[in-house]
């Protein structure tokens, strides 16, 4: 309890200190804005935003100031990814792929303004939840994340892939799983993570580094969307009823259980080393679908679905910073870039970190979240006008941006071919009602699954029992099995009989 009060009062001092320093504001506004732009442009990611700023600031600026810029950009980018998800059905970053599930149907119903407003609010609250965990429960979460070893990570990655497969399927759940497995198979291409043997490269050096996530993401989401848009030939823009963007306090309060639950889930997932915002969004979305009363409406434009994803991915930021600051192990890819920035400035995060720095980071997170919320609510009105632009003009622009985004990862022209190939396959899969998101999640989580699964077996000399003899692994394995079983027709029928009215 004493720790709690000490932390809170320390945080307050840090916040006052930060807020009373005028230099904070130009940094904060510029970086959050930059972050939102990076997040909103398909293909440019939060990791890229933080990495670029890390190189830019180097060790030539005071650490306090560069941290404001880096964290501001991080928070902004995770939030900014929701704009194209909602408005265009193209996730700006992998973290906001789950956001598109309900965000875009809402926009199609003309409730885009409301969706953007709710997203902004929930991102804001989500960031605060993650931050408060970083402030108060840092040691508790650390204890958990420290005991997560390879078997748990492998099962978690598998759960993420299965979950998105389950959630995304429109008709047959099997189709979602197939899509996820294709993604997983794609992730096997390249140098294997344990022994650095080449796999499925056919002697082509480009394939040695495996399929990059960004071109796959862009190909899977943007290309089919653009093809569909062009076919529909909506030469006139959509009529947009902007409506009220700032949500009423009452509305937010009513949704608070969803936001709070998603925030806690997001923080927890973010705190696991190497598992970041993208998984947080899906896991929270999945839990939301199971728990919320309107779970069956998820995917058709449910505000609860939107909030589940958005609150979680922003909360993951605070979570990801926990192992970073107190163990020196980044919880997510952008956090890894942040680790670099700290080291350039001669700060070595770990158990010996200056507690004052954690308070400073917490204060920056709170300020960045507030800046993001204000900026978001002010600019949503402008952004939503994107829908008014005739698609024939707008989609080619998106295509160009997408291409630049795919090119930016540095694989050269081959990345663009990859994007197009994935795009055509994704289009065909979409026509056959195979969901495409599980494929992308498979590509994102595949390497993690591959590495940790094989290392688990390597360590146990091939003994599979390693996946149920550890308590954490046993729970996760049970979740995986339950997820698959729950989709079996037999099980479904039994449940329906047990519980009249259904779930």
């Amino acid at each position: 309890m004493e720790f709690f009060f000490a932390q809170v009062s320390g945080f307050w001092d840090a916040l006052v200190h930060l807020a009373s320093d005028p230099i904070t504001y130009p940094y904060l506004i510029a970086s959050v804005f930059l972050g939102i732009i990076f997040g909103a442009l398909p293909g440019l990611t939060a990791t890229l935003a933080v990495t670029i700023l890390t190189g830019f600031f180097g060790n030539k600026f005071p650490l306090e100031q560069s941290l404001i810029a880096l964290i501001g950009a991080y928070v902004g980018a995770i939030y900014g990814g929701s704009y194209p998800s909602i408005l265009l059905n193209i996730p700006g970053t992998a973290a906001s792929a789950a956001t598109a599930m309900d965000g875009h149907p809402l926009a199609k119903k003309g409730r885009g303004g409301e969706a953007l407003g709710m997203t902004t609010t929930s991102s804001f609250i989500g960031t605060l939840i993650g931050t408060s965990f970083l402030l108060v429960f840092v040691w508790l979460l650390l204890m958990i994340s420290k005991n997560i070893a390879s078997p748990e990570k492998a099962l978690l990655a598998l759960f993420g892939i299965l979950l998105s497969g389950t959630l995304m399927s429109k008709d047959l759940v099997l189709k979602g799983w197939i899509s996820g497995l294709i993604g997983l198979a794609m992730a096997m291409v390249g140098l294997d993570p344990i022994l650095s043997e080449t796999r499925y490269t056919f002697g082509w050096s480009y394939l040695m580094s495996g399929f990059q996530v960004v071109p796959v993401l862009m190909g899977a989401f943007a290309v089919p969307q653009i093809m569909d848009g062009m076919r529909a030939a909506g030469s006139v823009g959509q009529a947009v009823d902007v409506g009220k963007i700032v949500p009423r306090v009452g509305t937010v309060m009513k949704r608070f259980p969803t936001i709070a639950r998603s925030g806690v889930i997001g923080t927890g997932v973010g705190a696991l080393p190497g598992v970041g915002e993208d998984v947080a969004g899906w896991v929270s979305y999945g839990v939301g679908k199971a728990v919320c009363k309107d779970g069956d409406q998820f995917g058709k434009g449910s505000i609860n679905g939107l909030l589940s994803a958005e609150a979680a991915n922003n909360a993951a930021i605070g979570g990801a910073l926990i192992p970073l600051l107190v163990l020196g192990i980044p919880g997510s890819p952008p956090a890894a870039a942040l680790l670099g920035a700290l080291k350039i400035n001669n700060v070595i995060p770990g158990p010996t970190i200056d507690p004052q720095l954690i308070l400073h980071v917490v204060a920056i997170l709170v300020m960045a979240a507030a800046t993001m919320a204000i900026m978001g609510l002010l600019t949503a009105r402008v952004f939503i006008n994107v829908l008014r632009i005739p698609q024939t003009i707008f989609l080619p622009v998106v295509m160009v941006l997408t291409t630049i985004g795919s090119f930016s990862v540095g694989g050269g022209i081959n990345d663009l071919y990859l994007m197009l190939c994935v795009g055509f396959v994704a289009y065909a899969m979409g026509k056959m009602h195979y969901p495409i998101a599980p494929l992308v999640i498979g590509v994102i989580l595949g390497p993690l699954f591959d590495e940790t699964f094989r290392r688990s077996l390597y360590l146990s000399d091939g003994d599979l029992s390693t996946f149920w003899t550890r308590p954490g692994a046993a729970i996760l394995l049970a979740l995986n099995v339950a997820l698959v079983l729950s989709q079996m027709p037999v099980v479904k029928r039994t449940f329906r009989r047990l519980k009249p009215g259904g779930i």
């Binding site: 990495t51 890390t54 190189g55 180097g58 060790n59 420290k146 005991n147 997560i148 070893a149 390879s150 993570p193 344990i194 022994l195 650095s196 080393p273 190497g274 163990l327 020196g328 192990i329 980044p330 870039a337 680790l339 670099g340 920035a341 700290l342 080291k343 350039i344 001669n346 070595i348 995060p349 770990g350 158990p351 010996t352 970190i353 540095g410 590495e451 290392r455 390597y458 360590l459």
Partner: protein, 331 residues
């Protein structure tokens, strides 16, 4: 025609030397082959800021990452003129680029400057039953290949150190590769592996925080961290000096073909910078040993590292190119 060409070459050579006398007259760029925030990047940003003070121009540090063992950055700098205006920030890990197929040059393509390196340690998790390196080695000898040991990927300096301690002490561990030092240390904390071999600099915060228990350094010298004295493994096992020390060498380099004026100017600035207070403080705080070698001495160090790394990788079957074809001698 031939005469004209010779004349042209001579003219270029002359203007080249005329400029070189004034070296440096415009800003220098250092391309670091590893990512921003890594050890090599951090060290280069620090030493370049110090050398700037000794030179009339600024030095910009950029990152050119990717490729095989940092080959992208090295190829990039190789393709720049050897006028001393583009330096490359690199580390001992880059000596494997050639045998791994990243590029086709021996490391003596460079004229290196070594800022320093951090000694490697063998450490165990805080709850580990082993309290000394002898206990650990005894346990490993009792059941060879049963004790999992983390070190970053096959062929990294930490892996070579692990191999060396195995050969020197007669123990056999179960080598588990990780994608870097941090994940390996994380695995030791989680109890997934029994021991981890990474550098003192990388382990320092975890040792000071009581998360890792250091058993021994893999250098002839012992190390001090906080109030703790870490003994040298050399005191426990006699055979070690045959294989060790294999120490990190982080720094930067200029084309070996650069003019002597360029090398002299950089050398003078480097000597002053390395002797400065900033470097000493930085090294002490971050648990690095200051090197300070450059030119022939540094080249000799790097070629020893190159031959050890290249032939070890070759023996592990992880080398794409036979080191013999590159003219790398056996250690």
């Amino acid at each position: 025609m031939k005469l004209a060409l010779t004349g042209l070459v001579a003219a270029i050579a002359m203007t080249g030397s005329a400029y070189a006398q004034d070296y440096p007259f415009r800003d220098i760029t250092t391309a670091v082959v590893w990512g921003a925030g890594g050890g090599t990047d951090t060290i280069n940003r620090m030493i370049m800021a110090e050398m700037e003070k000794e030179l009339p121009v600024s030095i910009n540090v950029i990152n050119q990452t990717g490729g095989v063992a940092g080959s992208n950055g090295m190829v990039y700098v190789m393709n720049q003129p050897d006028d001393g205006y583009t330096l490359v920030g690199l580390s001992e890990s880059n000596v494997t680029a050639a045998v791994q197929g990243g590029w086709d040059k021996k490391f003596d393509f460079w004229y290196p400057f070594i800022v320093g390196g951090s000694p490697d340690l063998i450490s165990v998790g805080k709850d580990s039953p082993y309290n000394t390196i002898e206990e650990l080695v005894e346990a490993a000898k009792a059941e060879p290949g049963s004790i999992p040991a983390a070190a970053s990927g096959a062929g990294s300096i930490h892996h070579l150190n692990l191999l060396a301690i195995e050969q020197g002490s007669g123990a056999t561990f179960k080598f588990v590769p990780y994608k870097g030092s941090a994940p390996g240390q994380e695995a030791a904390l989680a109890g997934e592996v029994a021991l981890v071999v990474t550098s003192l600099a990388e382990q320092a915060p975890l040792i000071l925080g009581g998360e890792l228990k250091p058993l021994a350094t893999l250098t002839p010298e012992s190390a001090k961290i906080g109030d703790m004295e870490i003994p040298s493994a050399f005191d426990s096992f006699d055979g070690l000096d045959k294989y060790l020390p294999l120490k990190q060498a982080i720094g930067f380099a200029v084309h070996a073909s650069a003019s002597d004026d360029v090398k002299a100017a950089l050398g003078a600035a480097f000597e002053k910078a390395i002797a400065g207070e900033t470097v000493a403080t930085w090294a002490a705080e971050n648990y690095y040993d200051v090197g300070g070698q450059y030119g022939d001495e540094a080249t000799a160090l790097f070629s020893k590292l190159e031959s050890t790394f290249a032939w070890t990788l070759h023996e592990l079957g992880a080398a794409k190119v036979d080191p013999a074809t590159l003219g790398i001698e056996k250690p």
